[in-house]
Symmetry: C2
Amino acid sequence: MSTTSLELRSLITPEGELRLSLEEREVAPPGPDEVVIRVEAAPINPADLAVLLGPADVATLSVEATGGRPVTTATVPPRLVPLASARLGKSLPIGLEGAGVVVEAGAGARHLLGKVVSAGAGRMYTQYRKLPASDVVPFPEGVTPQEGASAYVNPLTALGMLSTMRLEGHSALVHTAAASNLGQMLNKLCIADGVEVVNVVRSAEQEAILRAIGATHIVNSTHPDFRKQLTAAISETGATLAFDAVGGGQLGGLILAAMEAALVAKVPSPGPYGSPVHKQVYVYGRLDRSETTTPPAVGMAWGIGGWLLPYHLTRIGPEETQKLRERVAREITTTFASAYTSEISLAEALQPQAIRRYQRKATGEKYLVRPND
Amino acid sequence: MSTTSLELRSLITPEGELRLSLEEREVAPPGPDEVVIRVEAAPINPADLAVLLGPADVATLSVEATGGRPVTTATVPPRLVPLASARLGKSLPIGLEGAGVVVEAGAGARHLLGKVVSAGAGRMYTQYRKLPASDVVPFPEGVTPQEGASAYVNPLTALGMLSTMRLEGHSALVHTAAASNLGQMLNKLCIADGVEVVNVVRSAEQEAILRAIGATHIVNSTHPDFRKQLTAAISETGATLAFDAVGGGQLGGLILAAMEAALVAKVPSPGPYGSPVHKQVYVYGRLDRSETTTPPAVGMAWGIGGWLLPYHLTRIGPEETQKLRERVAREITTTFASAYTSEISLAEALQPQAIRRYQRKATGEKYLVRPND
């Protein structure tokens, strides 16, 4: 017998109207190697917001009840509609990751029945989710769905940064927007693994958050001496790799230039092309949507480019990915623990006031959706 | 018995004065595995100019005779002196490559005596150059030193671009400043090897130069429809790799955006992160010394970075490098033929008027130094 599931959907019409709604979907019984999860907790990540809201203007949000359920609308500024061209007219599911309890299982997946599991297959802002058993990872006994909700995006991104570092022959790294949930997790992970991180933040408050969890190298980009302090921290750690969540503007290029300055200062006669040591910045976020600039003072051994978790997991392959997922499951309440400032239901997630709060991505704030509340 | 050799040297004093001079050096007899070349022809490449002149202001060039030999001086603007910090007070040899006749050979290198050979070991603006026999490559019978003078920088760079393309899984490429000597050679090589090149030029004259040698995809960056034409040519060729000699400004980023536009136009629903196909721009020159900018519309699978021939040769290793050098020697009068617009002696190379002409790097102009004239 199929199960009825309420599911959050996001649609942008060709006319540029964003429509968020809750729709009833039938979830068919699981096949032999499938499970059905009752989703208990799914976080709101920046990448979820990008799909949920697209380029809509949150100042224009309004809600009405249609057939007893909320439908929230907002306007996409006409000049931004082309950014959404690939999704116009399509109702999209949301929720990259989440955790819940296995309530139904096919013959080959009975061992998962009743277990708390995580999933990172998308479409998690829903009450029930059917998935191949191989797409879920069970937690050790005693882990709650709230504790396990964020077992995919941030933990695998932090682990992916470290595996990129090792694959490409670097020994330390720089991270920007470093006081984020991800940034805190990266510090905990690097402390556990003995890797040095240079944390770039933009306020004293963010600096304090990182000090509290034991981070040692923290530089504030609003400080007048920022470049000098950044170069000193890079020189001390030997970092030649950076992960940049800001993306646009000068920050990525400044980091490359600081790495080059730190490297050439260590050799007696660097030659006309600067240091031959490769310096790399990976842009994995776009807090700043302006152009990315790189100054000429970076030598000839440098690179800046995009980094996306799914591309990285494809690069390392399924076996290595599975190892990372199992480590996350084991350490979900320690190294990879997440904290949430608010828990909301699916219906609450559609309220304009709530949307305006969670889309600000303020430091330290993180929302959890509880689809069955 | 040692041989006396006149050699061109470049020095920048700590006070910011550039001094070009001809100095007498004794060349000792060759060891068992060494040869002495009488250098007959050495080209002036942009990379040679960078060492020869540094950041000096050519408007301030003047020459005087000291002890019967010219000494040319020029001023380095004070704000640019730091760019030369690594070389201040050091007399540098010049001339990345050249060709000549082996006039002396050690016991293990007798087979090279009398042969016309090329060398890419630097310090070629000199009359006699002693080198390990393994550092020279003999030409087939009948090749003259003038024909063989440029057997290293441009041919290996063009071959290196193709080997990068193959190593990194691309199948066609974009080249900027494409009517240069290197650009023409790259087209001849790609025609020979059946690889498509999108040539980016900035004048109708440059377009004509490339048409004349059989290039098919040529786009002019000064044309109002440049972006559209570039995207169309990239779409047609499937190029996902570019080599950019301009370096600064918007061009590299525009190429990445055109590649992304060409890729997403070919799939029905590209998704929020754009095309997963990796797009790469390598900056191998700095005709523009401003910042390099990359727009956000490049998806997440992109990279821009430095590319330098010696780093590439280190990457492919000595065996593969040797194969490339032997191919160049075989095809030096066909695929890798160079033409020169002026031939000058060492003394003429120090004359301010000559320097001002050859440092302009005008399209189609190329100078050859003849140290024994």
